[in-house]
């Protein structure tokens, strides 16, 4: 994949992010460039010109001896000639650097920090390195990464990863219970912008055909020849329908029964039947007789009827991977699948043997990370949105060898996939918080916002140029691949170094757009919370407009509530896990029967990544199984929801706004009144934490008692701020 594939454990690691205490522009950049993009543009041009000219004039373009093997010539041509290489193997010179400056690979992450060892930062002084380390210590991770996530926890441990490689910067560390020790897995959703970098780490071999032996359940040929299963099934289905509705058998049912009986008897009457054929025909005869008895007597529907099968082995032709190219991670492209976990009814543990998977509609890469480690990635590219499951695109699994204690290495291994592999720091968190609020509050088109984002990009570019300039000596003479990687490292470091300034610029712009006067005033406002809410189940970011001043929202929602109606076994089953989880989350928790080629609309549209609530006037009568949030601001202070006033079919959130009235504005949502309205919350809702419902409608006193006992066993006395006795109501 790509011409600059990286070797295992090579670049793109990051060091802990440094949060510069003082927001000074890089050297040579006017201080007012931070707020005046026009000046910034000029500065960028000047710096670029300097970067192009300075190495030749000041550093002498000396190719390092180790690489060039030449005489330390004084010009680029000399360096190239000494190396005697061409194309990708050609040592870098001024023109290469110019090209990289002009057309660098996009950094692809907003807030990343490269892991610069001594070898890769030769121009940095020891003092500078020391300063960097000291700064790093001042900015601890927002979410600690456990050595061993709790085994069996259905929800795992949510963590935030630095940079912007993952949706909401979030990953989850799971430890599935298994007989041979916990199966630790990192689950995350890669942003589409980071995919090309991930794919560059992979070598996907050509698939070749191979014949393999498989054990399968198969029908007996004589059955298929006489279509006995089809005829008996048709008679069964017809009768079941009548029994279910309490109706007498119809003429059609009688005819189907007679046809099945006749066909089965014909086979039974065949001379010289094998023992297997005899057993098959008798199996169908028994069902035909059962149908006949039910036609006569009526009653409850019959148990499900399975066709007669035998176990057999057969040779099938399958696609298997051929040899993989060297210097990249071996990857196999295959039909998409998901971890097929189970939630133990006895222990409540999420269990998975490390092997079982359920099929999905699309393709994925199975990646060998070496030393017993592996990964699975379901890409955006190659999974067309119109024919495959939207919600699985970008899903990443990293698997540790069996056993506990791999938590930190699960994160560290992301480096092999060219992804940021360090926990998120506070500075990165604030950037994520601000960008989430820009999206949630629909500020992208606010005056000055586009300029602010351009400025932040310009700041990063300036750092890139400064770093390339300062390291020109070490870069010149590198071969194509190595240079490409080093420049990528520089981009990561530039993103990291520029982060405090970029945060400041964006904070100023957001403050102006939201009437806070200045970034400082915004940061000091009560609702400003640039850290995620960790309730033990999900990590969510808040939106400061609601958090800062919930009164207008509470007024808009007066007399209204959010609700969700629970079906199936009822709410007691739901509260075993304590989360109202999205379809995709449920799959990883082991509480979903993933079935077949899920051509399910939610999965196509992305709705499978969310749970949905509805808004309604607080009704006088509440049915059983209803969860009610009487104060919607409890949930609407999150920054990750979107809503429609009507059900929309086949629409993904990314393209829904213009045509279908999608909104993220809580004041608009408060006006939604159609019964089919939906408010989608990403991942899910923690039913036991701060987002707990205010009312839970039980079907009967027995269900309420069961839940009360369940809560008592777990030491849960309150949901939200209310005593559980007050929350649990009878419908």
């Amino acid at each position: 994949m790509g011409t600059n594939g990286k070797t295992t454990h090579s670049a793109y690691g990051i060091s802990p992010t440094a949060l510069a205490p003082a927001l000074a522009p890089p050297s040579g950049v006017p201080a007012d460039a931070l707020t005046e993009p026009g000046l910034l543009d000029n500065a960028v041009e000047e710096t670029a010109a300097e970067a192009a000219a300075a190495p030749a004039a000041e550093a002498g373009l000396a190719a390092p001896e180790a690489d060039g093997g030449g005489d330390g010539g004084t010009d680029l041509e000399g360096a190239n000639a000494a190396a005697g290489e061409t194309d990708e193997g050609e040592p870098a010179g001024l023109s290469d650097l110019e090209q990289l400056l002009e057309e660098p690979d996009p950094p692809e992450q907003e807030a990343a920090s490269p892991d610069l060892g001594e070898e890769s930062a030769p121009a940095e002084t020891a003092a500078e390195m020391g300063t960097q380390e000291a700064e790093d210590h001042q900015d601890p991770p927002l979410t600690p990464v456990p050595d061993a996530p709790p085994a069996g926890s259905p929800t795992g441990v949510p963590i935030l990863v630095g940079g912007a490689d993952f949706v909401n910067a979030q990953a989850t560390l799971m430890a599935y219970a298994a007989p041979d020790g916990p199966r630790e897995v990192l689950l995350a959703h890669v942003n589409e912008e980071s995919e090309s970098r991930l794919l560059e780490s992979l070598a996907v071999p050509q698939m070749v055909e191979a014949e393999v032996e498989e054990t399968v359940q198969a029908r007996v040929p004589l059955d298929e020849q006489h279509q006995l299963a089809e005829k008996v099934t048709a008679a069964t289905s017809s009768l079941q329908h009548k029994l279910d509705y309490g109706l007498p058998a119809s003429q059609s049912t009688l005819e189907k029964h007679q046809e099945a009986a006749k066909a089965v008897q014909a086979v039974l009457d065949t001379p010289g039947l094998s023992e297997q054929d005899q057993a098959m025909a008798q199996y169908y005869k028994d069902q035909v007789d059962l149908i006949g008895a039910k036609i006569a007597s009526g009653g409850a529907p019959l148990p499900h009827f399975f066709p007669y099968t035998t176990e057999t082995t057969q040779m099938v032709v399958k696609q298997v991977p051929g040899p993989a190219p060297e210097d990249t991670l071996a990857a196999q492209q295959r039909q998409a699948s998901r971890i097929n976990a189970e939630l133990s009814a006895e222990s409540g543990d999420a269990c998975w043997d490390g092997q079982a998977r359920s099929s999905a509609n699309g393709t994925e890469y199975a990646i060998d990370l070496g030393e017993g480690w592996s990964a699975v990635y379901r890409p955006y590219s190659g999974n067309d949105v119109s024919t495959t499951e939207f919600s699985m695109r970008g899903q990443l699994e990293v698997h540790a060898p069996p056993g506990a204690g791999h938590g930190k290495e699960l994160v560290g291994r992301l480096e092999q996939l060219n992804l940021i592999n360090k926990p998120m720091t506070a500075a990165e968190g604030e950037w994520t918080y601000l960008t989430n609020n820009v999206t949630a509050q629909d500020l992208r088109d606010a005056p000055g916002m586009a300029q602010a984002f351009a400025t932040t990009q310009g700041l990063e570019d300036m750092h890139v140029q400064e770093l390339i300039q300062s390291r020109a000596d070490s870069l010149i003479g590198l071969d194509g691949d190595t240079l490409h990687q080093e420049v990528k490292r520089i981009h990561l470091e530039a993103a990291h170094r520029s982060l405090p300034q970029r945060v400041q610029v964006l904070r100023e712009a957001v403050a102006v757009a939201t009437g806070h006067g200045s970034g400082q005033q915004l940061a000091a406002s009560p609702g400003y919370q640039p850290t995620p809410n960790l309730s033990g189940r999900w990590l969510t970011w808040s939106r400061f407009d609601v958090a800062h001043n919930p009164a207008p929202f509470q007024k808009a929602f007066a007399g209204k509530a959010l609700f969700h109606d629970v079906g199936g076994l009822g709410i007691a089953d739901l509260f075993k896990t304590g989360v109202l989880a999205s379809t995709e989350r449920r799959a990883t928790m082991g509480i979903q029967t993933e079935v077949g080629m899920s051509e399910q609309s939610d999965k196509y549209s992305g709705g499978a990544n969310s749970v949905f609530l509805r808004i309604s006037h607080s009704p006088a009568h509440l049915g059983a199984g209803r969860l009610v949030w009487d104060d919607p601001s409890v949930l609407l202070r999150r920054s990750d929801y979107y809503a429609y006033d009507e059900d929309n079919y086949g629409i993904s959130p990314g393209k829904a706004k213009a045509l279908h009235g999608m909104t993220r504005d809580p004041l608009q949502i408060a006006q939604h009144h159609h019964s089919g309205n939906e408010i989608m919350f990403r991942d899910g809702i923690d039913l036991l934490g701060a987002e707990a419902p205010s009312r839970i409608m039980c079907s009967a006193a027995s269900e309420r008692d069961k839940l009360l006992a369940q809560f008592a066993d777990r030491g849960i006395t309150h949901l939200g701020s209310r005593p559980v006795e007050e929350v649990l109501r009878l419908a």
């Binding site: 029908r219 499900h304 079906g567 379809t583 079935v595 999965k603 059900d647 019964s675």
Partner: protein, 162 residues
């Protein structure tokens, strides 16, 4: 469980037709299990964005007479070993909020409040096969679970096949 023979008199013709299609009462054989309904939804420009068979139940919303609850059938599988299986969390209820409805040939066309256009007609091909697979699957559930599904009043499903 709705009575498939119950009269729907008093409803507009298109709603009568909708009920007939969803129940499978239009079957040429006279046996509802041999027929059923499928729905396609198109954008205002005519682009089809959704197609699915419909389970044999529907319900008009208690508070909004211009809203019909249905259950599109998507996904599911059937193997000789496992039989027919659907994920009841995925096969969730959906709503049709309509402005106008009309019978066009043997279909019902609903102009939805969202701007989309839904066309409900006789199920055919893979959609009919999926509906009949669903019919067989539902008899793996308890009578109470079948009643709960037919009530079309739950937003998510917890328990077996969830």
């Amino acid at each position: 469980m709705p009575d498939p023979t119950a009269s729907t008199t008093g409803r507009p013709p298109w709603l009568e037709r909708l009920a007939v299609l969803i129940a499978g009462d239009h079957a040429a054989s006279g046996d509802p299990v041999d027929a059923g309904a499928q729905m396609s939804v198109a954008e205002p420009d005519g682009t089809e964005v959704f197609r699915a068979a419909l389970a044999r139940h529907h319900r008009i919303d208690d508070e909004d007479p211009h809203l019909i609850w249905i259950r599109p059938l998507l996904g599911g599988s059937e193997t000789l070993k496992d039989g027919p299986v659907f994920n009841l969390s995925l096969v969730r209820r959906r709503s049709l909020g309509w402005d106008t409805g009309e019978v066009v040939d043997d279909t019902v066309v609903l102009h939805l409040r969202s701007g989309q256009v839904a066309t409900v007609g006789p199920a055919a091909g893979e959609e009919l096969a999926r509906l009949q697979r669903w019919d067989r699957f539902t008899f793996r559930l308890t009578a109470a679970e079948r009643r709960a599904l037919a009530a079309l009043d739950a937003d998510s499903w917890h328990g077996s096949y969830a």
